[in-house]
Every structure is written in structure tokens, then in C-alpha cells.
């Protein structure tokens, strides 16, 4: 979720104008249903995407929609024959949204909010249950792990505990972790980069004096409180980890012991959730002390500037939500040349999610349209379009999303599809899970099948560099050096030779070596080709199991098991004692590795304890006047008092002087007479 305090007024007033204007015209329209949506800012797909569905005759219709919202309006009228007009408003923080919902008269049919806010709204009796049978796509494609997380959260409605999964439909989820730029931190503090990467696996480092004034944390009570909890109860969490026996405590990451994964892990997560949700007066007092000392060590509390500060390299470390982290890492890399990393420290932390809910104010007809909308955005094709725009991770895990994740992060996709013509007029597009080669004309329009397109052109390969022709000078090595035609995710075909993907790395490196030798010989002005490092494997079974065909789910080989992804973003760093930690980047931020999952806990609504946390937070944010200030203040007050007294005294003195003088003068006058 994004926090944009200062833009509220503009946003609110604009959305208000838009709402009144739109509702004004649509109420006069005949049978159009007006559906009012409230969502966080920048939190929905805004770019063009392709959407396929089956119509009543069983034909597959392929549509191109401009964005998710207008896509729904079109889909609804084409597929279901209902005319729906969406009014889309945004808010900046959950607190202000809830506050304005309580006071305002505006009623919405669908609201997207954070986990704890939905919980609060449930217990306030503001929500009605969602008919999940009507949200088929969600039932089919939602990750079972996330559904589980949501089922475990309850809130009392009329005295009966109700599951959150019955009252809301999940949208996006993520973690809270540390975003850091080792180069920047090294420049500021002199701590070497590997140590920084190592230290960022520990929440304690935020309190470490060697990182004084390096980190900005969120000016958000809940997020910063959760960090305080991880520090204050860190030893207890560690002890619980050890006791559970699920973790290898001598490993730098406290990695999961795979043999015990299924046995005690649930119990451990329950214990962690209990610790993580402590907010009684006593615990809050303890966390208060911890956060007061954190305030001394951090650079500042940021509202919305943290992401951009990281991109610009103004701060070296930032407490960030995973989606913002992806944004910062992407932009830092592309625009500012900053290599930024993201990590959730080894003792774990917060998993949060945002979901949609339907308020009680919505009537039967609107509710049913709202459920249609939820069904639409739970389609993997729409979920992928949303993820593509906003950089957060969807609840939905269908084929389309799976393909998107592979395309974004799996180096196999990069090896196979990264090809461009030297002139730049060729490229690859992806449709569903497959990639299609297309040629473009000079204006950039696809030539399509009518033109010079043939199936043979549908090549999937990294542009081949022909060693035999020895044309080093003419070639742009960005394009790659291996002919990958015939490859797929299960096997690599390098220049016509079939091999496994593990072998591909060696083949590539051998070829790179040969090309580098050629470059050296030819004294062409070209950089040598970088050799590939070995790829790591990321297990995302927790996310995709159940709604994507894995192939062989028990296999350890990504070639056979589609739940496993290769990744080349992981860096492994060891400290002096030989403990190894791994740091990741975008892929890790969007889809944490499975070892992290049991270490994540949801921070629920504080309920009646909210007041303690609020008080604690205003204590943390306020400051005492520094001694210098007290002295200056004292001097000023004393000076003011002196000036006033002196003024009055002088006035009195002159007054009495005048009176005396007047008497004297008149006496003299009388005497003269």
C-alpha cells in the first residue's frame, strides 16, 4: 500500500468532482448500473492487455482492452450483457480511508484495503459476506497458501468469529523488508559491501551504530511497530525457532531443515504469529523503548519519499514493502545505475495483503456486479496485467501469471527469447505462455501473417553469432552468442546440440571464451562477454501448487518441475565464521523463497489495544526540546520579560518625572506671579 499524505487533498477533491460528475450523467442513463470502487492510488493495471474468454457457443474470443477498468466494462457488456459503469476513486492511507468512510456519506460497492483494515471493518459490522461461488476464478486460481493465511484471520461479527476469507477476496500480497544499496552505504560508512549485505539479514543491524543515519523507516505506525517487535522479541523468536527444530540455526539464513518441513512448521508459525501480534500494554511499553532508540539511529521517517530517495541514491537503506522495493530496484537499475537489494531478515517478519470487500451499503444488484468484477480481476490474464503495471504480487497464480514470472525472472527465458536484430526492428512478444516471433515494418507495426511471416520465422533463439564467418566488427554482442532454436524450459538446444540447462551454462561459457579470444584478436572496440555464473533454484510450490501443472512435482529439477525456477539474481555472501547468507533482488521481493514462508506472520488489527500503540507512536514521534533549545528559550523569555518590565518602569519614571516637573513649573509660575 502506498502512503501519500500530501496528495490527499488534491486526489480527494478530484475524485469527488469526478464522482459527482459521473454519477450525475449515469443516473439519467437507462439501465446502466453504476458500480463505485475505492482503491489505493496506483494500484490497478493501466496498460493495454489481451484477454481471451469462451463465449456461449464455446468459441474463444480474444479481446484487447485498454486497461483493467474499461476492460471489465466491455467484458461485462459483451459476455454477460450487463451495462456497468465503474466509478473509480482512490485513497492514500487505510486510516484516512476508514476515517472518511465513517464520517462521509459516500457509499462504495467495492473497497480494496489492507488485511487489518478489513478485519476492523468486519468487526465494525460494515461488510457483507461475499458469495464465493460467484467468484469462480478466485476459487480456481488463488494460491492455496494465501487462502490459508486468510482463513486463519477472523473477526467477530455479532459475537460470532467469522473468517476473513468469507468477507474478502485477496488482491495483492507481499512482505516488509529492508531495501538497501550496498555501494551507497559503503560510501557513507566505510563498511565493506559484503558486510552490509550480510548484516541486512538481521533486524538488529537497524540499531547498529555503524549504520547511524543510513536508514529511513516508514512514518507508519504498524510497519515500524512490527520492526520493533522483531527486535524486542528477537531472542524469543530465535529460541522458538531452535525449539521447533525446523531450522538450521548454524546456517547464516536459519534455513529450513527440509526433513522436518511438514512436521513442526505449523506450530512454529503459530508461535511466531502470537509473538508478532503482541500489543498489550506491557509489550507496547517495551517496544516503545526499542523504537525510541531506533529513532536515534535512523536517518528519518519517510511518508512517500523513500522509494525515490533510494533510486536517487540519497539514502542507503529503507524499510520497504516488497512492491515498492521492486519499483525502486527497477528504476534504480534502469535510470540511475544503482544496484539495490531487498531482503527480509533471517528471523522473518511481516506478510501483508490487500483484498477487496463489499460494504453493507451495496444492494443485491450492485453486489452481484461487484462479484462479477472480482471474478474478472481474479482471472490470471487480468492478474498478470495488474502485476505488470503496479509491481506488486497477485494472489492469483494461474498459467498466465506463471508464464509472466518465468519471462521476468527465469534466466532460461532470457537465454531463449532475448534476441533483437541489429537494426532493432525485430522483437518478441508473449501471448499466454508461448512466445511468438513477429517482424515489424519501419513504422513499428507488426507485419503479421499476411506479410513475410512464416512459421519458420517463429524462431526461439538467442541471436546466433556465427564464429565461422568471423564477423566480429559487425556484431552487437548484446544479442547473445548461441543459437538456441529448439530450446524450451525442459531442455536447452545450443547450436543444434541438445543438453540440460545446467550444461548450457558450460556451453555458453565455452563459447564466450572463444568469442572473447576473437575479440581480442580482431582489436575491435568491443567489451568482452561476461561469463555466466551458476544458477540457483527457487521453489515456488507454495504459490503455484494446485492451479498450474507442475509436470513432476517431486522432482528437484526445474526442467521437470514447473514450480521450480532458475534464478541468477541470488548472491551468496559468507562472513569470517563461514556462515553464508543469500541476498536477492526483484524476484525475491515478488516471490520470496519457500524457506522464508514459515517465518512470515500477519500482523492483525490491534483491536482494543490500538490506543496503547497509538500513544506509543506519538511518544516515539515527539521530541523533547534539546538543552540548547531550553537555554535559548529561557534567554528569549527572560529578555522579553526584562523588556516589558523595563518599558513599564521607564514609562512610569517619565510619567512621574513629568508630573513632578509640571508641578515644579506651575509652582515656579505661581511664584513669579
Amino acid at each position: 500500500m502506498k502512503n501519500k499524505k500530501y496528495r490527499t487533498f488534491a486526489a480527494l477533491s478530484f475524485s469527488f468532482l469526478a464522482a459527482t460528475a459521473l454519477s450525475g450523467c449515469s443516473s439519467s442513463a437507462d439501465d446502466t448500473l453504476v458500480l463505485k470502487l475505492l482503491n489505493c492510488e496506483d494500484y490497478i493495471g493501466e496498460s493495454e492487455f489481451t484477454f481471451e474468454y469462451e463465449n456461449e457457443n464455446g468459441d474463444v474470443v480474444s479481446m484487447t482492452y485498454d486497461d483493467v477498468l474499461s476492460g471489465f466494462e466491455e467484458y461485462e457488456s459483451e459476455k454477460l450483457g450487463k451495462k456497468v459503469k465503474l466509478i473509480y476513486d482512490t485513497y492514500d492511507t487505510n486510516e484516512t480511508m476508514l476515517s472518511s468512510l465513517q464520517t462521509g456519506k459516500t457509499a462504495y460497492d467495492l473497497i480494496a484495503a489492507s488485511d487489518y483494515t478489513i478485519q476492523k471493518m468486519m468487526s465494525m459490522g460494515m461488510l457483507q459476506p461475499i458469495n464465493r461461488d460467484r467468484v469462480e476464478n478466485y476459487n480456481t486460481y488463488c494460491s492455496s497458501y494465501l487462502l490459508d493465511v486468510m482463513e486463519n484471520i477472523t473477526a467477530p461479527i455479532d459475537g460470532v468469529e467469522q473468517k476473513m476469507s468469507d468477507y474478502s477476496v485477496g488482491y495483492m500480497w507481499g512482505t516488509l523488508g529492508v531495501l538497501f544499496n550496498p555501494a551507497k552505504v559503503t560510501k557513507e560508512t566505510g563498511v565493506d559491501e559484503d558486510t552490509v549485505k550480510f548484516d541486512m539479514q538481521d533486524w538488529e543491524s537497524l540499531w547498529d551504530p555503524k549504520y547511524k543515519n543510513q536508514m529511513s523507516v516508514k512514518d507508519s505506525m504498524r510497519d515500524t511497530y512490527s520492526v520493533g517487535i522483531m527486535k524486542e522479541f528477537g531472542p524469543e523468536i530465535r529460541a522458538a525457532m531452535e525449539e521447533s527444530g525446523c531450522f538450521d540455526m548454524k546456517d547464516g539464513m536459519y534455513a529450513l531443515d527440509p526433513d522436518k518441513y511438514d512436521d513442526a512448521i505449523g506450530a512454529y508459525n503459530a508461535k511466531l504469529t502470537e509473538i508478532f501480534n503482541r500489543c498489550d500494554e506491557e509489550s507496547v511499553k517495551k517496544v516503545r523503548e526499542v523504537l525510541l532508540s531506533l529513532k536515534e539511529n535512523v536517518f528519518g521517517f519517510e511518508v512517500d519519499s523513500g522509494k525515490d530517495d533510494m533510486v536517487k541514491g540519497l539514502v542507503g537503506m529503507n524499510l520497504a514493502w516488497s512492491g515498492d522495493a521492486v519499483y525502486s530496484m527497477d528504476r534504480g537499475e534502469n535510470e540511475a545505475g544503482q544496484t539495490i537489494y531487498y531482503s527480509v531478515p533471517k528471523t522473518g517478519g511481516n506478510i501483508w495483503f490487500d483484498s477487496w470487500c463489499i460494504p453493507k451499503t451495496s444492494d443485491e444488484e450492485h453486489k452481484s456486479a461487484a462479484e462479477d468484477f472480482l471474478n474478472f480481476i481474479s482471472d490470471p490474464q487480468v492478474a498478470a496485467a495488474n502485476m505488470d503495471t503496479i509491481g506488486y504480487t497477485s494472489f492469483i497464480a494461474g498459467e498466465t501469471v506463471h508464464a509472466l514470472v518465468r519471462l521476468w525472472y527465469d534466466p532460461r527465458a532470457y537465454a531463449m527469447y532475448n534476441y533483437h536484430d541489429a537494426s532493432g526492428d525485430r522483437g518478441c512478444t508473449w501471448e499466454d505462455s508461448d512466445f511468438v516471433y513477429r517482424e515489424y515494418d519501419e513504422e513499428g507495426n507488426p507485419l503479421g501473417e499476411d506479410a513475410d511471416y512464416s512459421e519458420e520465422d517463429d524462431i526461439l533463439y538467442q541471436t546466433g553469432f556465427d564464429l565461422a564467418e568471423d564477423n566480429v566488427d559487425e556484431f552487437d554482442f548484446e544479442e547473445g552468442i548461441c543459437d538456441m532454436r529448439g530450446s524450451d524450459y525442459s531442455k536447452a538446444v545450443v547450436d543444434g546440440v541438445e543438453m540440460t540447462w545446467a550444461e548450457y551454462i558450460d556451453a555458453y561459457n565455452a563459447k564466450a571464451e572463444a568469442v572473447n579470444a576473437l575479440i581480442e584478436e580482431s582489436d575491435a572496440d568491443l567489451d568482452p562477454i561476461e561469463e555466466l555464473e551458476e544458477w540457483d533454484i527457487r521453489d515456488l510450490t507454495y504459490m503455484f501448487s494446485g492451479n498450474v501443472d507442475a509436470g513432476d512435482e517431486n522432482s528437484d529439477d526445474p526442467a521437470e518441475n514447473a514450480f521450480l525456477f532458475y534464478t541468477d539474481e541470488i548472491e551468496t555472501i559468507a562472513d569470517e565464521e563461514g556462515l553464508e547468507v543469500q541476498v536477492g533482488r526483484q524476484f525475491y521481493a515478488q516471490y520470496p523463497d519457500h524457506y522464508l514462508i514459515p517465518k512470515l506472520a500477519v500482523m492483525r488489527d490491534y483491536g482494543a489495544n490500538n490506543i496503547y500503540v497509538l500513544k506509543m507512536w506519538s511518544d516515539v514521534k515527539s521530541n523533547n526540546l534539546p538543552i540548547v533549545g531550553v537555554v535559548i528559550f529561557g534567554i528569549i523569555l527572560a529578555a522579553a520579560a526584562f523588556a516589558i518590565i523595563a518599558g513599564i518602569a521607564t514609562k512610569r519614571y517619565y510619567h512621574s518625572y513629568r508630573v513632578a516637573r509640571r508641578k515644579q513649573v506651575s509652582a515656579e509660575h505661581a511664584n513669579k506671579k
Binding site: G300, E302, S618, K621
Partner: protein, 287 residues
């Protein structure tokens, strides 16, 4: 004359009509009063209602002093108030110290032939202050004054920069009306420059100083974007506290703090008004 009277007599009906709907000058103030009632009086009343009530579990508003007790028993809130007063006073003093000589120079016809220079000085006011504050943050960062490390210094610099135009303008308007002959007389009668300043220029410009101080002091206390941005969230002013209360649905506490703020505004107005009166009587000048 006589023909005029005849005309009047012949238009008797029109005259009656005109008398009924006669336009009076005071009608011009109606739009303002409507505005005042809708957006000043009523909100203040709402603040008062919330400041001295609380919501019971059943959802009813009942009269209570809970917010008052809460405010005066909370060291945190009182601390914030003291810090805000401190920042307000320091900012006012700095603005006056910097703005006074500038306003004096600008009012000197030899230095500043026309209004252009004044415009240059108040120009920053024309740019949205949130944008300006963002830029100030970057400039301070480049200069090595990082808000996270020096929250007070960074905030004060930003506040002085933002409120300087508000100091210069009222001082300038007073300065151009300075009685030149009195200053000259003081010089002729043997005052050295310091004495001329102390006995002639300064007393004459007191009204300008008072209204400049008024324009700076209270807005400083309630500003929160500047302190939030420039101190990297490390400095909480009274405005931040109020905003925080409202954001977290603590309407009663927030309203009471807003009420305290209001009381402070009235207090400063009362004090400065007395200043104005004194000046008018003693110096026999209208301001």
C-alpha cells in the same frame, strides 16, 4: 432643477421600487459573510463540540472533559506544544532579523526605484510550497545539511525561507510610510545612526514588526509539511500531532488540540492588538 424635480415626481412608482430594493453598500459583504459562516464559524463550532464531548459505547455524544484531561496530562502532547512554541518564536525572530534590513533597503527609493525588487523577494510565494519544500530538501542535502542528522537546523532553514516573504511584505508597507522628516530631524539634532534607528526608525516601524510576527508565528506552529519533509519526520510540530489524531480517528483529542491552537491564536491577536492600540495613541498615527 425644477425640471429634475418634475421628473422625480413623475417617476414616483419607480422611486418606491428603488427604495424597497435599494442597493446598500453593506450588501457587498454578504458573500463574505456567507463564506465566513459556512467555512469558519460552523467548523469552529464543530471543533468546539468535539473538543468537549466524547462518544459513548452506544454511539452518543456526551459532554466531557476527557480530551482536556488527556491533553494536559500527556507529557508528550505538552512537549510537542513547547517544541512548537520554541520553533515558532525562533522562526519569528530569525525572519524579523533577516527581513527587517531587507524591507528597509527595499523601501529606500534610492535602492529600489520601483516595485520590481519587492516582487523578486516575494516571488517564492507563488510556487506551491509543497514543491518548494521538496526542492529545499534536495538543496539542503547537497549542502550537507541532512534533515535526518540536523532536524532542527533543516526545519528552521526551511521555515525561514518559507515565511520570509510574509515578513518582508508587511515590514515593507510600513517602511515606505516612514516619516522621513522625523528621521532627518533626528540626524540634524545630532543623533548618530544607531540612535536614529533606536529612537526614530524602530518605533515608527513597530506596527510592521507586530503584523509580520503575527503572520509568521502561528502558521509556523501549525505547519507540518515543512517540518515533516525537512526533518525527515524526526520533528513533530503541533500541526503534525493534530493531523495524526484525526488520521487515527481520535476526533475528540484532535479537536481539543485544534481548540488549544485556536485559543493561542486569539491570545496572540489580543496581545498584538494591544500593541497596535498603544502605538496609535502614543505616536498619534493611524495604521
Amino acid at each position: 432643477m425644477s425640471s429634475n424635480n418634475a421628473m422625480h415626481r413623475s417617476h414616483n412608482g419607480w422611486k418606491t421600487f428603488k427604495r424597497i430594493v435599494a442597493f446598500k453598500r453593506k450588501y457587498l459583504s454578504i458573500p463574505y459573510f456567507v463564506f465566513l459562516i459556512l467555512f469558519v464559524i460552523i467548523p469552529i463550532l464543530i471543533i468546539l463540540v468535539y473538543a468537549f464531548t466524547k462518544t459513548t459505547d452506544a454511539g452518543n455524544l456526551v459532554f466531557s472533559f476527557d480530551s482536556l484531561v488527556e491533553f494536559f496530562s500527556s507529557t508528550t502532547k505538552l512537549n510537542v506544544l513547547v517544541v512548537s512554541l520554541f520553533i515558532g518564536i525562533i522562526n519569528t525572530i530569525l525572519c524579523l532579523l533577516i527581513g527587517y534590513p531587507i524591507a528597509y533597503l527595499l523601501a529606500d527609493k534610492k535602492v529600489n526605484k520601483n516595485y520590481v525588487m519587492v516582487m523578486l523577494f516575494v516571488m517564492p510565494m507563488w510556487i506551491n510550497f509543497v514543491l518548494r519544500t521538496g526542492a529545499t530538501r534536495d538543496v539542503l542535502y547537497m549542502m550537507g545539511i541532512k534533515g535526518g542528522e540536523h532536524p532542527y537546523a533543516a526545519t528552521l532553514i526551511g521555515l525561514v525561507y518559507n515565511y520570509l516573504p510574509f515578513t518582508i511584505l508587511p515590514l515593507y508597507t510600513t517602511m515606505i510610510k516612514l516619516d522621513k522628516s522625523q528621521i532627518e530631524a533626528a540626524k540634524d539634532l545630532g543623533c548618530n545612526p544607531a540612535q536614529t534607528f533606536a529612537h526614530s526608525i524602530l518605533p515608527q516601524s513597530v506596527p510592521g514588526i507586530v503584523s509580520a510576527a503575527e503572520m509568521v508565528f502561528m502558521p509556523t506552529m501549525s505547519s507540518y509539511v515543512i517540518s515533516d519533509t525537512l526533518s525527515e519526520g524526526k520533528l513533530t510540530l503541533f500541526g503534525n500531532s493534530i493531523a495524526n489524531s484525526f488520521n487515527n480517528s481520535l476526533w475528540n483529542d484532535g479537536s481539543f488540540m485544534a481548540f488549544v491552537m485556536l485559543a493561542l491564536i486569539f491570545l496572540t491577536m489580543f496581545i498584538t492588538n494591544r500593541f497596535h492600540k498603544d502605538e496609535t495613541i502614543e505616536k498619534g498615527r493611524l495604521w
